[in-house]
């Protein structure tokens, strides 16, 4: 790929990610925040493609956009009317929050850009990683894989149990 095109596309997706993340945080309407989070997730998925982690990018789109974002939207709509004025959310601790925001970003960027230059490995990852992810999953990472699957099953059963609607006749169950 042409280097200039590559750079321009990277900066485009980086800008989409950062600005929509800022809009998630600074928008007062929860619905707008949720839809802006959609663009953040897509931007992050595009960055994963730049980092040659194509499988992770597809997983990001499927899990975050298809699952978590829909879940968050359901949460918004279950708890408020969609175009209610109540859907606006107030802020508190705005001064210490801004200080922490500026402090964290400033300190991290200062550290990244002033300490030293990174030394990338000679054997960087290139191309598609789907096959290597498959091998790693069933060789080195088979125990975490099984554990996380059981955790996910338990968490989803627990979530369905917690969020169920009570029948009026057995309140104390």
């Amino acid at each position: 790929m042409n280097s200039l095109t590559y750079t321009v596309i990277f900066y485009l997706f980086a800008a989409i990610t950062v600005f929509s993340a800022a809009f998630v945080v600074f928008s007062r309407n929860v619905i707008y925040s949720a839809f802006s989070l959609l663009f953040t997730f897509f931007g992050v998925a595009a960055l994963y493609v730049f980092l040659s982690a194509d499988f992770i990018a597809v997983t990001q789109v499927v899990v975050y956009v298809g699952g978590i974002l829909v879940l968050l939207l359901f949460g918004v709509m279950f708890t408020k009317g969609i175009m209610d004025t109540e859907v606006k959310s107030d802020v508190l601790h705005i001064i210490p929050g801004t200080l922490i925001l500026a402090g964290i970003i400033g300190a991290l960027l200062y550290t990244f850009y002033t300490t030293h230059t990174w030394k990338p490995s000679e054997t960087q990852l290139h191309g598609s990683l789907v096959e290597r992810i498959g091998f790693e999953t069933v060789s080195h990472y088979v125990l975490p894989f099984e554990m996380v699957s059981i955790l996910l099953l338990a968490a989803l059963i627990g979530a369905a149990f917690l969020a169920r609607f009570d029948k009026p006749d057995n309140k104390n169950s």
Binding site: V25, L37, L51, P120, H140
Partner: protein, 105 residues
């Protein structure tokens, strides 16, 4: 200007730092519990970008695999947290995290 052109590790770390800062800001300052959850998702995404960027420039598979597990944990966390938020709304008729101050009805 010369450090802008070849896309390196610092670019990804910069994006990740911004996402972490915005996520922390949302967790600290918003009163709506759902926006707080969105902030947590932003923080997890920032961590994932760091994992995958370091994994790419290091050449190992550890960061890639760890980011997969982070995505799974984030899905479980979102499901449980939304269930808890809906229960809180049923009891307190509000999702304002600064007004929920009792453990018992």
């Amino acid at each position: 200007m010369e450090h802008l052109v070849p896309i390196g590790l610092n670019h990804y770390l910069t994006i990740s730092a911004f996402l972490l800062g915005f996520g922390l800001f949302a967790v600290m300052t918003r009163k709506n519990a759902i926006v707080v959850l969105m902030g947590v998702e932003l923080i997890l995404n920032a961590a994932n970008i760091n994992f995958i960027a370091f994994s790419k420039y290091n050449g190992g598979m550890g960061g890639i695999m760890f980011s997969l597990f982070v995505i799974v944990i984030a899905a479980a966390e979102a499901a449980i947290a939304l269930a808890i938020v809906i229960n809180i709304f049923k009891i307190f008729k509000s999702v304002d995290v600064s007004s929920i101050d009792s453990m018992k009805e």
